[in-house]
């Protein structure tokens, strides 16, 4: 039983948990090819967004992320503030 569980854990895909980062690290990661996603509504995105960011409003994130984002590259997600 213990061996079966261990084998299943080794076969399962590695899940990377999100973590909060500072804007300096954002700039560094973008230089290294990270994808930048704004989850605010389209109107707010059109008014102001970080350079290079794409818009994936929160309600579409689960449905559209897999088609739009490259799973091989880091993804940075941001909103209006950290609250």
């Amino acid at each position: 039983m213990r061996r079966q569980i261990q084998e299943e854990e080794e076969e399962a895909p590695r899940v990377v948990r999100p973590r909060e980062i500072h804007r300096d690290e954002v700039r560094r990661l973008l230089q290294d090819g990270a994808q930048l996603v704004e989850v605010l509504p389209a109107k707010e995105y059109e008014e102001d967004h970080l350079p290079g960011a794409i818009n994936l409003p929160l309600r579409r994130l689960e449905t559209d992320a897999r088609q739009i984002l490259d799973p091989a590259r880091p993804v940075i997600v941001y909103c209006w503030d950290s609250a």
Binding site: E20, I21, H22, R23, V26, E38, L40, Y45, E46, E47, D48, H49, L50, P51, G52, A53, I76, V77, Y78, C79, W80, D81, S82
Partner: protein, 153 residues
């Protein structure tokens, strides 16, 4: 990431319709003279006015704004330290505020000049009411003239 507000507050560039219009950080004078708390007022006044300025921003080594000296403060006893002469803790504004909004605010509240700072309190520049009002007026006139051209076509 901390969010778009933090990015804007740091005066970092953005894309979008708002970024095409002048904001407080764009119009603020980056070359405003700065001084430290322990400097002698008379010395600071000398080179501030020799440079054609009538205002100076008191900062620390990290360029965090600590105070403001306008004409009245610069005219005080020259032997005072900047810390004693300055107006401490001045009202500041973030770089992303639209210039029309800044101009209106400064006129409404009779604000001659205001330091523009990042969310960390670091100085971006000094915005004068004259510069804010001038740019706001230019924008309004440009908007009016483009509206007239659309009516003619």
């Amino acid at each position: 990431m901390e969010g778009k507000l933090d990015w804007l507050g740091a005066g970092l560039p953005t894309e979008g319709t708002n970024s095409e219009r002048p904001r407080a950080g764009d119009v603020a004078r980056k070359d405003v003279p700065t001084c430290f708390l322990n400097e002698r007022l008379g010395d600071v006044r000398g080179w501030v006015r020799a440079g054609g300025w009538n205002a100076c921003v008191a900062v620390n080594e990290e360029r965090v704004v600590l105070g403001l000296l306008r004409a009245k403060e610069l005219d005080a006893d020259p032997d005072l330290r900047i810390e004693e002469a300055m107006r401490p803790g001045p009202s500041t504004f973030r770089p992303f505020v639209a210039i029309e909004e800044m101009a209106q605010l400064m006129i409404d509240h009779d604000v001659e000049s205001s330091p523009i700072t990042t969310s960390d309190g670091r100085l971006v520049g000094l915005l004068t009411v004259q510069d804010a009002a001038r740019v706001a007026l230019e924008l309004r006139e440009a908007g009016d003239s483009s509206g007239q051209k659309e009516e003619q076509t």
